[in-house]
């Protein structure tokens, strides 16, 4: 039988085995992922056709269009809630929220890389391609309800970020960052996979819904506990929570600044989404103290570590560990109260941290030379607008009112107190006070020290300015009118905790 005959016979053979092609709605439910993948490939195809010295901006534009198209296609996805591909993917309010969030992060990161790439002389083809593929992984992580698919999505996003971390090839720190991230990351994902295997052993399934039914039906032996612990190790690494946080400062220091903005928010948000799926939605046993201890440790170690940093990127790395701790505190709260604040927190943290790193990316200049605290001396005098926006992001990270960071922390604190976790709330409050100090150091540096003549301050180019402006507006919006986003997260968190899928009525305004 020749080849063409075989191909013609294929549909009939498949039908004979009981295979049915998935309905068209299934493809709509992964439309953002499809759009992102297609644009990722377009970037890769177009890259060799362009002159290497001038390819940065066209490729950036293609990537940006891809991200915006994907953002638009979440609308199609939101209108088709339900499961797809034999129950491997589920579109609910939760998935839509995280899709919008990660894709928005990606779009802003692409904007903040737009001029940065040319300044740093980094090859843009693979860079933008990988960012888009990474986003595919992150999106899929939030909508996958099948542990194996979750694992694959996790790997897609992780492997892209491993490579992205090493993109400042001429700098040894960047290579170190990439290698370290890769080795430790693969080790951690192995733990996750092992946890998946044990969960399969305990419940006979890798589907979240089936696991949930199985776990709530029977009594628990040791196996699901171990599975939960192992999966938590894998995910704890991804969200940089203590005691799996040691890689964070080194990796963040070496990686390109816009990528740190991405890494510290996007994959983190996606990993938190997975954490919510595998812990809360499955009603898995035995995670309470794991989360409690990890939250307390992350807050404390992150903040104490940040106190002594002189490199702004390292400082923000430790701060991101601390923020992972605040977020985990919401997880430790009662599931009915905690899920919505956790979702809100990821959004608020994304807005302020991407913004902060957009400022750092611009200020670092060629070769990322200017990243120490001393370099920021007198920035308030030399570039009032840049300093003011950075101050605004730092205020949000501290948790001062009228910023998104304030409400994020506020909701988490509220959830922990409502659940009666007074101890954890107290740790959170004390840590916020410690945290205020090191963010303040940067503000003090910028406004209260004499400017340094040897640090060049260049005008902010348009795309970076737009990226920063978007982050300012998002942070301000979440800080003044948090109601709409919070209503959306509460609504989808309720569905999610109940495990029902109903149409999503309103879109988040991220």
């Amino acid at each position: 039988m020749n080849l063409s005959a075989m191909i013609h016979l294929l549909p009939a053979q498949l039908a004979a085995t009981g295979f049915q092609a998935p309905p068209i709605e299934d493809y709509l439910r992964i439309l953002p992922e499809l759009v992102l993948s297609i644009f990722g490939m377009i970037v890769m195809v177009v890259d060799p056709l362009l002159d290497e010295d001038r390819h940065h901006k066209p490729l950036g534009a293609v990537a940006l269009i891809g991200a915006l198209a994907a953002l638009g296609s979440t609308l199609a996805m939101a209108h088709h809630p339900g499961t797809a591909f034999s129950g491997m993917v589920r579109v609910d309010g939760f998935a839509v929220f995280f899709h919008v969030l990660v894709i928005a992060i990606t779009a802003v990161v692409i904007l903040s890389s737009y001029e940065y790439m040319a300044v740093q002389r980094i090859r843009a083809g693979e860079y933008y391609g990988l960012i888009l593929f990474c986003t595919v992984g992150m999106c899929l992580m939030s909508s996958a309800v099948e542990l194996v698919l979750i694992f694959i999505a996790l790997e897609i996003s992780s492997i892209s970020t491993y490579v992205l971390a090493g993109f400042r090839r001429k700098d040894a720190a960047s290579s170190e960052s990439s290698l370290k991230y890769f080795l430790l990351g693969s080790f951690a994902t192995a733990f996750f996979l092992y946890g998946v295997a044990l969960m399969f052993g305990a419940t006979g399934s890798t589907n979240i819904t089936t696991i949930r039914e199985s776990l709530s039906a029977g009594r628990h032996d040791l196996l699901p506990y171990v599975a939960v612990a192992l999966m938590f190790i894998g995910l704890g690494f991804k969200v940089a929570s203590a005691p799996f946080h040691v890689w964070t400062p080194d990796v963040y220091e070496g990686a390109p600044a816009p990528i740190v903005g991405l890494m510290s928010t996007g994959p983190k948000a996606a990993a938190f989404a997975v954490l919510l799926r595998v812990l809360i939605e499955t009603k898995a046993p035995g995670w309470f103290w794991l989360i409690w201890i990890s939250a307390a440790l992350s807050m404390t170690l992150g903040n104490l570590g940040a106190l002594v940093q002189n490199n702004v990127k390292r400082l923000l790395a430790y701060s991101s560990i601390a923020h992972a701790g605040y977020l985990l505190a919401a997880f430790a709260a009662n599931r009915d109260f905690g899920t919505s604040p956790a979702m809100f927190y990821t959004a608020a943290y994304a807005a302020m941290n991407v913004g902060a790193f957009a400022v750092v990316s611009h200020f670092a200049n060629a070769g990322e030379k200017y990243v120490t605290l001393e370099d920021y001396a007198g920035l308030g005098r030399r570039s009032p607008v840049l300093a003011a926006t950075f101050t605004f992001f730092l205020m949000s990270l501290i948790g001062i009112p009228i910023t998104g960071g304030f409400f994020a922390k506020f909701y988490v604190l509220n959830a922990t107190l409502k659940s009666g976790l007074v101890g954890l709330a107290l740790i959170l409050v004390l840590n916020s006070a410690v945290g205020a100090y090191y963010y303040l150091r940067i503000i003090v540096m910028m406004y209260m020290r004499e400017p340094r003549a040897d640090v060049p301050v260049t005008a902010v180019p348009p795309a970076a300015a737009l990226a920063i402006a978007i982050c300012v507006i998002a942070t301000l919006y979440l800080g003044v009118f948090p109601g709409r986003v919070l209503n959306f997260t509460t609504q989808s968190a309720n569905q999610f905790v109940e495990g029902v899928v109903t149409p999503v009525t309103s879109m988040p305004a991220q």
Binding site: I400, I402, L413, L417, K418, A433, A436, L440, M448, G483
Partner: protein, 497 residues
């Protein structure tokens, strides 16, 4: 337009006029003169508009006036709820009264980053007014925290000497203190489902909050720590001298004049009104701390070689009177406490302005650098004398009325408190009059001081309102007390033994 139709929006207007002015200031080109004139006009406008409040306020009942209550955020249940009573109305007016004077006094002393300075000053004014007008606990916390950044930046950017140290210390002290208040506010919200002051107050009085009895002491302390740092109550006062000495003049004026009152206002509004039982139970040691503050502040002020530090410690002493008056729970004591808040705002604000004027000319606050200034600067010496006498509490000046009422209240509560506090009055006469003698009397000790110019027109314009207010408040205190008394009576009834 009918003036009564203003009533529902008047508080929002008063609160946000300065902030809107500050934002508009962003758009004005960097010509220093235009910026200063604009800032002055805006702050003056806020003052004029705020006068609507005492003029049109009904003084009979004890409910909140000019209320506005709109839903801001549905989950959590946060309202844009504002309203004032006889206590807060004067604090609002005090804020709007001092700010234009601050603009005038900063006219020549701020040379660079002028635009930022006045923007920060106007934003600070909005936050301060907001603290006194908010009736939603969340909104209150919001404004409370919002005062932090502009003030810290004013100290850190425009101060002198160890300004960064002072700014960071101020920031951290207040921030850590208010964290405890936030935790207490959240506890109340978690149990009542509301941030509304009136709702929470009636829920507590109705005894409908589960677990309140066991938590009340902690809630009381949570609020207390935040306010005690701001007052500042001994031993949490250590940030104050640093902040005052290094702050620019306008910063010191608002810091002493208004920011400290946020603390005493909070004690009165929240600690006493929400937790009367705990307030009674904790009153003994709080009054002891207040007494220590009065006497310790006065003694330290006595030995200060630095004029500004002396005034700063005198604030510790005076604010001790306020706390003593509040926790005496007598009508006289409470009336006096509120009156001292206002009188201290005017008199100490004035002293800081005067110290700033001298600093502009000589660039030092050291008392030993001066002497015999009455000869080259007679007008300045006169204004200084009026302000000093007001601060000392000479009868017919505003300081006297408040301190007298506080002392009589404290005496009613427990005679020994009244006797000890009365020594504070003597001390304050001591350090202030001695300061006056060293700076103004005798022969000119330093040749440079011979050629110091006397007050110019702008400085006189800034100082006359202070002197007039100090006198009028002393001669006709009933204008103020008529509004304060009903509000204070209500508080006293709740907490009275």
């Amino acid at each position: 337009m009918n003036i009564a139709s203003l009533n529902p929006i008047i508080l929002s207007l008063v609160t946000f006029i300065p902030a809107i002015g500050g934002i508009l200031l962003l758009l004005i080109p960097r010509r220093d003169r235009d910026i200063k004139v604009f800032a002055f006009v805006i702050s003056l406008l806020a003052f004029v508009v705020s006068l609507h409040l005492p003029v049109h306020m009904h003084r009979d009942a004890t409910t909140f006036k000019f209320e506005i209550d709109k839903v801001w955020i549905t989950t959590p249940n946060i309202h844009y709820h504002m309203g004032i009573d006889g206590i807060s109305v004067w604090l609002v007016v005090l804020t709007t009264f001092l700010t234009p004077l601050c603009v005038l006094i900063s006219w020549n002393s701020i040379h660079e980053r002028v635009k930022e300075f006045f923007i920060l000053l106007l934003l600070l004014e909005t936050a301060l007014i907001g603290v006194f007008t908010s009736l939603d606990l969340f909104l209150f916390y919001f404004f409370w925290e919002a005062t932090l950044i502009p003030m810290a930046l004013l100290i850190g950017m425009y101060g002198h000497g160890r300004k960064v140290y002072a700014a960071v210390k101020y920031f951290l002290f207040t921030m850590i203190g208010s964290m405890f208040m936030l935790a207490a506010i959240l506890w109340l919200y978690a149990k009542t489902g509301s941030f509304d002051f009136v709702v929470i107050q009636s829920a507590i009085r109705g005894g409908s909050i589960p677990g309140f009895a066991s938590a009340a002491q902690w809630l009381f302390l949570g609020f207390f720590v935040a306010f005690a740092v701001k007052v500042p109550l001994f031993p949490l006062h250590t940030w104050l001298p640093d902040a005052h000495v290094e702050a620019p003049t306008a910063g010191s004026v608002l810091l002493a004049g208004v920011l400290l009152k946020m603390g005493t206002y909070g004690l009165l509004r929240f600690n006493v009104s929400l937790f009367p039982e705990q307030a009674r139970r904790n009153a003994p040691w709080i009054m002891v701390l207040a007494l220590i503050g009065i006497i310790y502040g006065a003694l330290v002020a006595l030995v200060q070689p630095n004029m500004k530090k002396l005034i700063a410690y005198s604030s510790v002493s005076h604010l001790g009177f306020v706390v003593l008056g509040i926790f005496s729970f007598t009508t006289a004591g409470l009336n006096g406490a509120v009156f001292v808040m206002l009188a201290h705002g005017v008199a100490t604000g004035g002293l800081f302005m005067l110290a700033g004027i001298l600093y502009e000319r000589r660039h030092t606050y050291e008392i030993s650098e001066f002497g015999g200034l009455a000869t080259p600067m007679p007008k300045y010496a006169t204004f200084f004398l009026v302000t000093v006498l007001a601060s000392v509490g000479l009868p017919l000046m505003n300081g006297f009325i408040g301190e007298f009422l506080v002392l009589s209240g404290a005496f009613q509560a427990r005679p020994i408190y009244g006797i000890l506090a009365a020594t504070g009055v003597i001390w304050s006469a001591g350090y202030l009059l001695w300061l006056y003698q060293r700076v103004f009397f005798g022969k000119v000790t330093h040749a440079v001081n011979n050629s110091l110019p006397d007050l110019n027109l702008r400085e006189k314009v800034a100082l006359v309102p202070i002197a007039v207010a100090a006198l009028v408040m002393g001669v006709a205190p009933l204008v103020w007390l008529a509004a304060i008394d009903p509000a204070v009576q209500a508080a006293a009834k709740v907490v009275g033994q």
